[in-house]
Symmetry: C2
């Protein structure tokens, strides 16, 4: 599929060419390489070797590869370059990638790099983009776009587009603006190809155009673009003046990042880490949730201690053997309920009132609980456990399952209403709450039923 | 952003217009509606009301809305339509959506719908697409594309494109083929706009073109398209003959579906369900994992029963109070480790040998375990627990954490190597294994240390 096969042989060969300093041979070997492949190559070389490649290859290619790699690796590689060298790379990028890259640099270096960039308009665009919030439409957009004024003839329009198109990696839509740069509509390339040369833009443009304002959150932009199957969307200010555009490839990255973040939150990983990160970075992401689990576990110690007396009663001490089962059920049911709610909230499909939702979860968990309770009673028969004890355990477990489902449903909805990411609720948070609550409820119900 | 605000008022008004049968008024009201908005409207109306809209609105719009909605809702709505009516809708769709829609119909209806479609070429395309595996490039691609032969002049080429472009929703690339329909390269629209009319395709086309073969798995297609930031990719057979193309909007949907599936697997939900599904569908997805949890819990009953004798020893029975803590730690650590590995595998960033990976996890979990162990010993001081017991509990917990991390790392890697989706390992599977194993290990280590 790809022209390049990046295998061990290739990397070994490249490493020895770098060691031997055979610049011309390396340039020839990597002449045709896609920047995404070059980015992959960077991850397989040492940082010295990668820096060497950045210095001897065309910035045109290395810049995009730099924009593509993981932030940690980028930081390492950029440390080996001077402000002028970084500026040279950055100038080759579209403004959105350039601004992201500059924003990552240490504050002191940022100004040096910007002043080393020659093109004044480009610098002005960068300064504008750097001022927007990272996770807003402004932070996602690029200044590069193709626009024409509404009063142009199609022929003049094509000339204008030809000029602008040279700066734009991919032309998705041609935006139509009025004299004040306010967005009026769009001109699809397909329409332009099939249009009569004598027409005027005003006659043929499509006034209906989706757009987002510069302060729209990134997630909202992703939702609009994926709902309406858009490949690019224009970004405007509060006066509808055209400021930039966002392309679908950035949205694909955003969707993947959001999904990874939610997945990690559900698994109890607090910040964006990867398998290749350092033990310290991984610990920082994992310890907070483990600490929460520890607190929950210590809470359970107190609850169980409260029922210590029944350890002396052979017919009741069996209850203690069921604590892992109860904790597992409470945790699993809670995570299931919250995961479904979190996804429903993300896709706007959680409709109806909170009460309806809770009633449905009660029905669902009663149904599931009943089936599991029957199995538990059967198990009691097999191990010749006293029927009353089995019934009590099964009944208490049903109670725990219902309450766990309610907590799992309630917590994400409440978090969402308070503007907190509900994804945080799935995983260790719900598991820990439900563990404690489930164990307490289990023993409390048993106490009521068996009268100890 | 969107022209339409679908609020309660709008839906109430639409419902009453439908009830009053005011067809012309409804057509006028929905004249400008985007198909994605119409899809949302369908989810807010009763199935009778939606069916009514499908019958009175232009199929051009309703067909795309039908393709957009959830499979369950689509099934309900299509049941209200005759084979001829379904065919009328389907004909308006691009071949990829049309084939997906037909594939969902009951077998008996499929043939009726296909025979009711008039366009023979379209039917032929549909039959071809229906033969491919759902989750392959063939199952994702559409037959609609724009292609030109390499020996055409640019002027003739533009005429050819004009004709073909009328059938294609969005023109991304113009593919260049030889006389045998073999893919030679591509012609970007931008290049075509800026090209000299007298040139020949052969002079200006870009021979470097990414493509996938028809049997490439969907996930692989998504990886290639997002790695190379492609908005469309051509699909070829084993002789490189151009068969169709896949566009990025389908890939965005695929990425979102995959992410939801992984998230649900991690949360212990076995099949793709949504908050609005029936209690039965939700139970079918949730019960298998709960059943697994039940089995694990019952396994723990036996393990704990084995240590029943120490309940009579006041200084040792405290161990039982720590079982929820141990189970929570084993579960949380296991899920964290497996989540990082699963994501690493999905992004191809798990490099180096299995042994290296396991060594790193041991280091990481020893470090985390040590911090948690110190906290546990402090807790022991506070509750005035005997030091030897506290040390034993803390040490055993560290052992459990290390083993849980190893299991969490090992299992997904082994699953991946055997061709099983490693995502299945994160969540209840790892949690349940680690619960049992952790509790056993905890008591076993305590037994060795305290000599009971």
């Amino acid at each position: 599929m790809s022209v390049f096969q990046i295998d061990n042989d290739f990397i070994t060969r490249l490493k020895s060419l770098i060691a031997e300093g055979r610049t011309a041979r390396i340039q020839q070997l990597l002449y045709d390489v896609h920047y995404a492949d070059l980015a992959e190559i960077f991850t397989l070389l040492s940082s010295q070797e990668s820096t060497h490649l950045i210095k001897i290859l065309d910035s045109n290619k290395t810049a995009d590869a730099l924009a593509e790699i993981d932030e940690d690796l980028r930081e390492t590689l950029l440390q080996n370059l001077s402000a002028e060298e970084i500026a040279e790379e950055i100038q080759e990028l579209d403004t959105d990638d350039a601004a992201d890259l500059i924003a990552e640099l240490p504050d002191a270096l940022q100004e040096d790099v910007i002043s080393a960039i020659e093109d004044d308009t480009y610098v002005e665009d960068l300064r504008e983009l750097l001022a927007y919030d990272d996770n807003s439409a402004g932070g996602l957009m690029a200044k590069e776009l193709v626009k024409v004024q509404e009063d142009l003839s199609v022929l003049k329009c094509i000339n204008t587009i030809r000029k602008q198109a040279q700066d734009v990696t991919r032309v998705h839509s041609i935006y139509v603006v009025d004299k004040k740069n306010c967005l009026k509509g769009r001109l699809s390339l397909k329409d332009l190809i099939t249009a009569n040369n004598k027409a005027i833009v005003n006659d043929i443009y499509i006034p209906k155009v989706d757009y987002v304002t510069v302060d729209t959150p990134g997630e909202e932009v992703a939702k609009v673009m994926s709902k309406y199957d858009l490949e690019a969307i224009p970004v405007v200010d509060d006066k509808k003046r055209l400021l930039g555009r966002i392309t679908i490839d950035d949205i694909v990255d955003l969707i993947k990042e959001e999904a990874e973040k939610d997945y990690q939150l559900a698994a109890g990983i607090a910040s964006d880490v990867e398998a290749d990160d350092t033990i310290f970075a991984l610990s920082r992401a994992r310890l907070p949730w483990l600490f929460l689990g520890l607190l929950g576990g210590l809470g359970s110690v107190f609850i169980l201690k409260d029922f210590e007396t029944i350890m002396a009663l052979p017919e009741l001490r069996n209850l203690f053997f069921y604590t892992p089962l109860i904790a597992a059920m409470a945790g699993n049911v809670g995570v299931q309920s919250s995961a479904i709610i979190v996804q429903g909230l993300a896709n706007d499909i959680v409709k109806g009132s909170l009460l309806n939702r809770l009633v449905k979860e009660v029905g669902l968990s009663l149904f599931n609980g009943l089936i599991l309770a029957v199995l538990l009673i059967l198990f009691g028969f097999i191990i010749q456990q006293e029927l009353l004890l089995s019934l009590t355990i099964a009944g208490a477990m049903m109670g725990v399952i219902v309450v766990a489902a309610l907590i799992g449903t309630f917590v994400p909805i409440v978090l969402e209403k308070r503007g907190i990411d509900p994804a945080i609720a799935t995983g260790p948070f719900i598991t820990t709450c439900n563990d404690i609550f489930g164990i307490f409820l289990f023993f409390y119900i048993a106490k009521l039923a068996l009268g100890f």
